[in-house]
Amino acid sequence: MAENNNDAYVRFENVQKSYDGEILVVKNFNLDVQSGEFLTMLGPSGSGKTTCLMMLAGFETATSGEISLDGEPINNVPPWKREIGMVFQNYALFPHLSVFENLAYPLIVRKMSKSEIDQRVKKALDMVQLGAFGGRRPGQLSGGQQQRVAVARALVFEPKLVLMDEPLGALDKQLREQMQYEIKHIHENLGVTVVYVTHDQSEALTMSNRVCVFDDGVVQQLAPPAELYEKPVNSFVAQFIGENNTLHGEVVGVDGENCDVKLDTGEVMNALAVNIDGVGSKTTLSLRPERVTISPEEGSCRNNVQAEVRELIYLGDHIRARLALCGQEEFIVKVPNSATHSHLVEGETTTVGWQSSDCRALDPQT
């Protein structure tokens, strides 16, 4: 999905990568990253996202295509000349140097004066709330603290671009969520361009301006988080991001933006025609759990069916109801735990409904 935008700070143009000359790990990759943007490359393991990051950093070379930084092609520029900050998955802190020395390292390389080094290192440490830890060794820090030092080190020499390769993977859930916010705030304060790689979709949605979803070396969709979640363009994205209810059927009629789909069990649903091949083609309907209404008011929803409640799981702030309808045993509805909401009972039959605009007809899943 190339965007011809002259403000692009990072540009991948028809980039391909193969390790053995036969199998393409990255297939025809095109991407423009805006200056100051937080862009996440999201995808399952082996989808090629880390390879693209490494090509941008300079540790892998593109088999074909061009990568440019601020308008200048960098295919042949070695990593140590690219002025890109990088945070690695295992932090890669230098264990034989103190935290201060770790941060001072890139500044010494750039031949800064001692007083300037002191000043910048202090500023960087304060930015990650580790001002008192300058004298410690990395081995004496906790995982979260090490990660923050790694982030500070990647930013201390004020690069224009920062790359992060799944930096939060090793942290526990609570710390991870806290760090997500911290990184996001640092990004907003500094205004650097960030390219972030992760396989955790909630992380991508939390932190990014735009998310680029990868599968098998090909970009599936590039969009801001809301658009990605609410308007996935194909089944992979719909199923990868957030929870997804699927119904299978065949297109029986197309009417402008909408289409009529006859499900395998006979009911006819009206849905948004997002990614179909025309009348007679197979399709998979995608429906987000929170867009399904239980016991809707008469006439409020375009599509209504009878559903049997199979399982109810209490999750504190909402109840996760598993229903059976239209041949789908795993139809999930999230019922907010509010006093006004209907109380479901396992085994009972109830009506559910949804709007056409919330139901997207996508490519059939194999």
């Binding site: 140590w80 002025e83 990088m86 802190l93 264990p95």
Partner: protein, 420 residues
């Protein structure tokens, strides 16, 4: 049903038995079980390691010969003050003991023993053996002196007394080229007999050189093995380990084939024209031969510890360093090299300690200028049978190596696999 009774101000008691006691019993049982499991190995180590070394240490000061063969004389000498010629009673004791040893055919052993410190002692005893047959009755003193005037020299008796002490430092003195003169002072051995200090120095020097050479050659090899992909690194490791699978003797003698004056290298150089037929270089049966062969044989001992340490340096750190702006040279010196130093220390210590004790290689290819202390120890064990001297040389070596180990521990730290 057990009851947990807690007194208001005392230890916890279960079923009448204090908890502390039960705990220590359980701990004791665990310890005994552990000891029982370890016992076979412990016994093995004690028998094959501690006992022989202890034996060696003992032999370096043990002086049993005179005490076992001439106990009465030793006793008498003990009471003699050493200032004037001994009294008649001592001469009598000496005569009786010598006669006894002649009969048991042990006089040769006595003669050899005294001869270590008294030049000419062998001939003295041989002559006395003959002449003493004629002496049948006292006074022994005059008759013995008449048989050989050396019996009338106070020096003779002083030295016999000196070599009779059950615990002696004579071997250690000898091992550092010193000796006790007749007056009992420590003096240098005569020039021609002073070899050990030179040998110690040479041994240390050769070991240092070999350690340095293996380091210079081995570091790049270890670096390559730890940073190249498995396809290449596996091949390199096999090449480093392959020599281990061939006999040490074969490896050493193959150097002879290569380096000897009529050997492959010299032939090639003459053929090319670098040296003339008469000017063939002697590269073996000298210090050079020892150095070359030992370096090759000890190389794996340097490469493998260094490799194991280098393997723990994550490549992501090197990438991080590059991403921060440091070129590959700077990355190597600032990030890789400091973290590889513990491996150098471990490999260096291993190679040094091994080469200090090396025997076969200097024996085969060292000639005379390439001899090390181990060769002298072997000589005394097998040829001159001066086990006391061999043991003291060995003890000095052992103490030296332990000292080095202690020093290394103080400076670098044995457990220290990272700098700081």
């Amino acid at each position: 049903m057990s009851t947990l009774a807690e007194t208001s101000s005392g230890p916890i008691v279960i079923n009448g038995v204090p908890l502390r006691e039960q705990l220590s019993k359980a701990e004791h049982k665990k310890k005994m079980t552990a000891l029982f499991l370890v016992a076979p190995l412990l016994i093995f180590i004690v028998i094959t390691f501690i006992v022989p070394i202890g034996n060696m240490l003992w032999r370096s000061v043990d002086n049993p010969r005179m005490v076992s063969l001439m106990p009465h004389l030793v006793e008498a000498l003990n009471e003699w003050d050493g200032k004037e010629l001994p009294p008649e009673s001592l001469f009598q004791t000496a005569f009786e003991e010598i006669k006894k040893n002649i009969e048991t055919n042990d006089i040769g052993k006595v003669a050899t023993h005294v001869n270590y410190n008294l030049a000419g002692a062998r001939s003295l005893f041989v002559k006395s053996k003959r002449k003493f047959k004629k002496i049948t009755a006292p006074p022994y003193r005059e008759q013995m002196i008449a048989a050989d005037k050396r019996w009338g020299e106070i020096k003779t008796w002083q030295i016999i007394k000196a070599v009779s002490v059950p615990i002696t430092g004579a071997y250690f003195l000898n091992a550092v080229d010193k000796t006790l003169n007749a007056e009992g002072e420590i003096v240098n051995q005569p020039e021609s007999k002073r070899i050990y200090v030179t040998l110690f120095i040479r041994t240390l020097w050769v070991s240092t050189l070999v350690t340095l050479l293996t380091l210079i050659i081995g570091y790049p090899i270890a670096y390559l093995i730890s940073t190249t992909p498995p396809r290449i690194s596996n091949l390199l490791i096999i090449m480093v380990l392959l020599p281990f699978w061939t006999s040490l003797l074969v490896r050493t003698t193959s150097w002879i084939v290569l380096l000897q004056t009529q050997g492959v290298l010299n032939d090639m150089m003459v053929w090319i024209g670098v040296v003339s037929e008469e000017g063939r270089i002697q590269m073996i049966y000298n210090l050079n031969g020892t150095l070359v062969a030992m370096t090759q044989i000890l190389l794996p001992f340097m490469v493998l510890p260094m490799y194991s340490v280098m393997k723990t340096i994550p490549l992501s750190q090197l990438r991080a360093s590059q991403s921060l702006g440091a070129n590959p040279f700077r990355t190597f010196f600032k990030i890789f090299w400091p973290q590889s130093i513990p491996g150098i220390g471990a490999g260096g210590l291993l190679v040094f300690v091994l080469s200090v004790g090396y025997y076969i290689t200097p024996a085969l290819v060292g000639g005379s200028s390439g001899q090390m202390i181990s060769n002298q120890i072997a000589f005394h064990m097998r040829n001159s049978l001066n086990w006391g001297l061999a043991a003291s040389l060995g003890t000095i070596m052992l103490v030296g190596v332990l000292l080095l180990y202690w020093l290394y521990d103080r400076v670098v730290g044995i457990d220290n696999m990272k700098l700081g």
